[in-house]
């Protein structure tokens, strides 16, 4: 029972991280059909920022987090302006390849400037200790990641439903041309989508750094691939779908970790991605298809 509950908490916490990443990708995809490979590099650069401010410049923790958020949002906005605005009218595959090229450039730039070796950081001891609940020991980090995800999800929902800009964004995601005719400014809503994705990237950066205690240029490669899978199995263009897809993958990863025999456990990611492909065949529109889901031929 205790094991089951601690697995459940692991699953929810991992699912939260995957959902954060999937949402950061999904919020941009829903609006402009861009699957952003370079999203991972926003996370990685954020992680370097966090490690740099806290470990190298010995900022207080809260200041480090503040700088992290400012930096990831700024990177996301610059990325949109410099790399993606020029290809906005292109087909989704061209945009996908553009983001792939951007990701490769940034990753190698990180190696060039910061070196390929990992950089370490010590976060406040709170994040590496446990909360004891009767016989149950829950890592504080898991609780924190779950709480952070809930807050961000509620915040995003509030923004989309209750603010003028949020409603404009939802409208543009539903029908971009119509929204523009009604006066929604394309550049503004797309910039805001990127800003939100930058904010979610900051949260993911923090969670990854806190988990690993270090950062290296390939830190976010696998989490972002899982985030992609989350967006796709959730249903392209639907934010609720991306959240659900992220959580589903977090659960699946934890289940595979628990049930695969030791001799097969290193094949976990292979099994995970095979299941993703299999799922796409059975239900190509995803769990909760959005209105802009892609036509299949």
């Amino acid at each position: 029972m205790i094991t089951a509950i601690s697995y459940l908490i692991d699953a929810i916490s991992l699912g939260s991280l995957d959902a954060l990443i999937a949402l950061g990708i999904g919020v941009v995809f829903g609006l402009m059909g861009l699957v952003n490979f370079a999203y991972g590099d926003i996370i990685t650069l954020g992680a370097y920022t966090l490690v740099g401010t806290i470990a190298a410049l010995s900022f207080p923790f809260a200041a480090g987090i503040l700088v992290l958020v400012v930096v990831t949002v700024a990177i996301a906005l610059v990325m949109e302006r410099v790399a993606f605005r020029p290809v906005r009218e292109a087909d989704p595959t061209t945009m996908l390849i553009t983001s792939f090229a951007l990701s490769y450039t940034l990753q190698n730039l990180e190696i060039l400037v910061l070196g390929a070796r990992a950089k370490f950081v010590a976060l406040p001891p709170f994040f590496s200790s446990f909360t004891t609940l009767g016989p149950l020991q829950i890592p504080n980090l898991s609780l924190f990641v779950i709480g952070m995800t809930v807050v961000l999800l509620l915040g995003l929902r509030f923004f989309l439903k209750r603010t003028s800009l949020g409603v404009q964004m939802s409208a543009a995601a539903a029908d971009f041309a119509m929204a523009r005719l009604l006066g929604v400014r394309a550049n503004r809503v797309i910039a805001i989508a990127f800003g939100i994705s930058g904010l979610f990237a900051a949260a993911a950066s923090f969670a990854l750094v806190a988990q690993l205690g270090q950062v290296n240029p390939t830190l976010s490669v696998l989490p972002v691939l899982i985030g992609f899978a989350g967006v796709i199995i959730g249903g392209l263009g639907s934010l609720a779908g991306a959240t659900l897809g992220g959580f589903a993958l977090g659960f699946l990863t934890t289940i595979l970790q628990a049930v695969l025999p030791a001799s097969l456990s290193q094949f976990r990611d292979a099994v995970l991605f095979t299941l993703v492909i299999a799922f796409l065949l059975v239900r190509p529109q995803g769990l909760l298809p959005g209105r802009s889901s892609v036509e299949r031929v």
Binding site: V35, T105, D175, I190, Q266, F273
Partner: protein, 375 residues
């Protein structure tokens, strides 16, 4: 007579790229030193990979992120067949019982490469059945998933692949000349495929899937055929890689995948000429920057660039091409005889001049703005 002339003009599509590759390789083979020759040999192996990727991605319009995994399969399969029997016991002590006869034989490298190609093609056809049902970027991401799955399997199935450790002991039989021969063969295969009925059908699917399906083309079948042929060619590039360098599972992962896609995008994804031109230009460029990374002398000037400049430069070049000229340098055009190009340009200039004199210029009305990015 005019049919003959058309055929002659058409033949440029094959002869110009094949000739360019042969020219570069033969010049290097005759005049360059050993180090340069081995660089050109590596570039030829990359060319085979890119041409193989083009066979699927160029004709189908779906960028595959998974083709390098067939290169890995080709390299491992040919290594398994060509390593001397004595050394096999050390490389694969725990090889599965069912396949142990493979450890008792040593096959001729050419035969091994062909077998590796066929093996990869069979795997491509099997995984193609589910993958090829998807379209567009969804298919691209599914091929990326394939790359990850195969890499995880190779890195962890130690009994068969030696894990992440380097495979050594494969006879280094690849020379500049036999690699050139294989590269030319790959270009011919790509050409024959794209002018064949199958190739034309797949191109029809690329241009308009609905219309293609309506005239009875089986979309999935045509894609699977191209995927299999592509895997065959790419796996042979993998075999040649194994006949050149020691390799491990990391040799055929994201770095090489990116490189091959960058080359194809820069050259121009939709034509054979783009694939060949892209490889020629990019490999020349990367070789120059690699030299600069170790220190290059231009007259009295010494240039030293930090390690990693090559990769960053390649990424930026690809971004620039995507923004400025999304169809790549070749722009989707096949190669043509140079004098025909000149004649065409002169004709265009004449019509332009005539148009401006007769004031026939028309203002283009741009279509109303739609949803960005939506297909």
């Amino acid at each position: 007579m005019s049919a003959l002339r058309t055929a002659w003009n058409q033949s440029a599509v094959l002869i110009v790229p094949a000739g360019l590759v042969a020219l570069v390789a033969v010049l290097c083979g005759l005049f360059a030193d050993g180090a340069t020759q081995s660089i050109v040999r590596s570039a030829l192996i990359e060319l085979i990979l890119v041409v193989g990727l083009y066979i699927y991605s160029g004709n189908s319009g779906i960028m595959s992120f998974g083709q390098t995994s067939f290169m890995a399969i080709g390299a491992y399969a040919s290594a398994l067949l060509t390593v001397p029997v004595m050394q096999k016991q050390f490389l694969w002590p725990d090889f599965p019982e069912a396949g142990s006869f493979l450890l008792q034989v040593q096959v001729h490298p050419v035969l091994a490469a062909l077998a590796a190609g066929v093996f990869a093609a069979v795997i491509a056809v099997i995984v193609g059945f589910p993958l090829m049902k998807m379209s567009g970027f969804q298919a691209s991401i599914a091929t990326l998933a394939l790359l990850i799955v195969i890499n995880v399997i190779i890195a962890n199935w130690k009994a068969v692949t030696h894990g992440t450790s380097t495979i050594i002991g494969v006879p280094p039989v690849a020379t500049l000349w036999n690699t050139l021969a294989v590269a030319e063969a790959a270009i011919v295969i790509a050409y024959l495929y794209q002018v064949s009925g199958r190739g034309l059908k797949l191109r029809a699917v690329r241009e308009d899937p609905h219309a293609a399906a309506a005239i009875g083309i089986s979309i999935v079948l045509e894609r699977i055929a191209a995927f299999g042929l592509s895997a065959f060619v790419v796996a042979i590039a993998g075999a040649l890689y194994a006949y050149t360098n020691p390799f491990s599972s990391d040799s055929f992962y994201l770095t090489l995948t990116f490189y091959s896609i960058a080359v194809l995008v820069i050259g121009g994804q939709f034509s054979l000429w783009g694939a060949v031109l892209g490889t020629t230009i990019v490999s020349t460029f990367t070789e120059l920057t690699r030299h600069a990374e170790t220190g290059m002398h231009i007259g009295p000037l010494e240039i030293v660039m930090p390690v990693g400049t090559t990769e960053v430069g390649l990424g930026i070049a690809m971004l620039l091409v995507l923004v400025i000229r999304p169809a790549g340098i070749a722009g989707g055009q096949e190669a043509s005889w140079p004098w025909l190009l000149l004649a065409r340009r002169r004709a265009r200039r004449l019509t332009d001049a005539a148009a401006s004199m007769g004031d026939l210029t028309t203002t283009r009305v741009s279509p109303p703005d739609g949803r960005p990015g939506a297909g």
